[in-house]
């Protein structure tokens, strides 16, 4: 009897409407998630796309449930107020996390570097090994991995050494004033010509940069393919090849010479020793 009363008290039309809204809402949310995923995957990495589409899906599901409950006549005022308070508390508690999250999204959007790029972010230098929604990992040349929160990455100056297809290297070679600069040019150009990774375009530049205090400083500017460690490998090889070629041609690379002048005359004490002592010293 009681059950029968309850059965007749329920507004079955409202329940049906709520079920229809629930089903349609779920299907709609699922389609929105799919559409968002398909469009974002073209511009964002997989992990970020998955996170965003999933977050949007859950928000929509939450709204659908709220709508359905209100259709069934359940009072949600207290729930909304409590939700608001929880939201404010979470907002304060997760301030840094949210800042990192949004910085991560902006970084993915702006793409200042790619995984594998050699970068300097603030004081940290190395290869980008991972870019996640919250942080960026940098693998240093010494084998260390630094995790930088995305908010810090976003706020820092970023130098991307791998942004262009070629990179310029510069060397300064000092030769003695007595040497023939034209001959030095010829020797340097021959070395540059023989190295396969010195690009012909943009052309290498060789010129006297400065008349230094003890040498004529020749600048050598070359472009190399900006792939992996190639700039570093070329720098390491070329400097030695240039030194070797210049020395082999008999061109003097001077070292800095200083004349030391003493304000007051120096007193030198000469100690005379016997021939026997001299023999001992020689031995």
């Amino acid at each position: 009897m009681v059950l029968e009363n309850i059965f007749f008290q329920i507004d079955w039309y409202a329940v049906l409407r709520a079920i229809i809204v629930l089903v349609v809402g779920f299907i709609f949310s699922w389609f929105i998630r799919l559409a968002l995923y398909k469009s974002l995957i073209k511009i964002l990495p997989l992990s970020l796309t998955r996170t965003i589409s999933r977050a949007v899906y859950y928000v929509l599901i939450f709204l659908v449930i709220i709508t359905v409950l209100s259709m069934l006549g359940i009072d949600l005022t207290g729930f909304v107020v409590a939700g608001g308070i929880v939201g404010i508390i979470l907002g304060f508690a997760l301030q840094n996390t949210i800042a990192n999250l949004f910085s991560g999204i902006f970084l993915q959007w702006e793409k200042p570097f790619k995984i594998g790029s050699y970068v300097r972010i603030g004081d940290i230098e190395g290869f980008v090994s991972d870019v996640s929604i919250m942080s960026t990992k940098i693998r240093g040349l010494d084998g260390t991995v630094t995790r930088i929160p995305n908010y810090s990455v976003f706020q820092s100056n970023i130098i991307n050494y791998h942004a262009l297809v070629a990179r310029r290297l510069e060397f300064i070679i000092g030769i003695a004033y007595k040497e023939d600069v034209e001959k030095a040019y010829e020797v340097i150009r021959k070395v540059l010509e023989s190295h396969p990774l010195i690009l012909v375009n943009p052309e290498p530049e060789v010129f006297v940069r400065e008349l230094g205090s003890s040498s004529v400083d020749i600048a050598v500017r070359v472009w190399v393919p900006n792939i992996g460690m190639i700039p570093w490998i070329v720098r390491r090889e070329l400097l030695w090849l240039l030194k070797k070629a210049i020395t082999e041609e008999g061109i003097e690379i001077p070292f800095i010479q200083n004349d030391v002048w003493f304000r007051s005359p120096l007193k030198i004490e000469i100690e005379r020793i016997s021939s026997k002592q001299a023999d001992e010293v020689e031995e």
Binding site: V165, V200, I227
Partner: protein
Amino acid sequence: MVFSTLSGYGELKEPVSIGPCRIFYEEIDREIIVYRRLCNGRVEAEEIVSKPLKFEIIPLYPVFTPYIITKYVSIHLTQPLIVPSNSSITIYLKLPVDIGVYVYDLNGRYELIDVYPPLKVKYGVYGTVENGVIARHYISPIYRDLIKPGFGEAVAKVNVLNRFERWVKVSRIVLDSQLLRLHYIKGSWEAYTQEILFEISSPTIAYISYGSSFIEKAIPINDPEGFKPPKLRGRSEMLWGL
């Protein structure tokens, strides 16, 4: 060890000299063979191979040395070719090839074990350093008739078609080695590309289509595994000047 001078691509049966290099293999036992390449008295390549059927010397795309850093080959013409509007002309150009050494097993499966560049290797940027690409750099004269390629060279037949309404100056052709197919004649140093269509659509843009072989006797090389992705389209573009 006696070294004979190799006269062309094909199976490596005895120790041979190629330019400043010497190529040979030594049997350690019945199952192990050591392949070596000595250049200017220095061992530049050494591979220990188990149960090889044969070694073969073939021409390779000129993008393997010293590392694979590009797939493009930029052929600069010694003098620019000025092509009138809506007209075509056939020319022959030379491009470099690297010398590759394959080892084959009993099932006919092969593996690239050595690459040696017989000509000087240089690279350059095609386009700007911001947006361009690195390309193997080579300078070739323009030939009107089919010529015989020398050691370390291949010949490309290029049909230049100017679809633009004005004269266009062509000073280089950039080829994509993943779309190229090298062909060679066994027992000689002759290597050829396919017939190439160079379609000019503006003074700075051209499209390059890769056709079929133009030398009957020439056979295609076995492409190194993993070098070429599945072929989606048979043409490449030149977008940063001709």
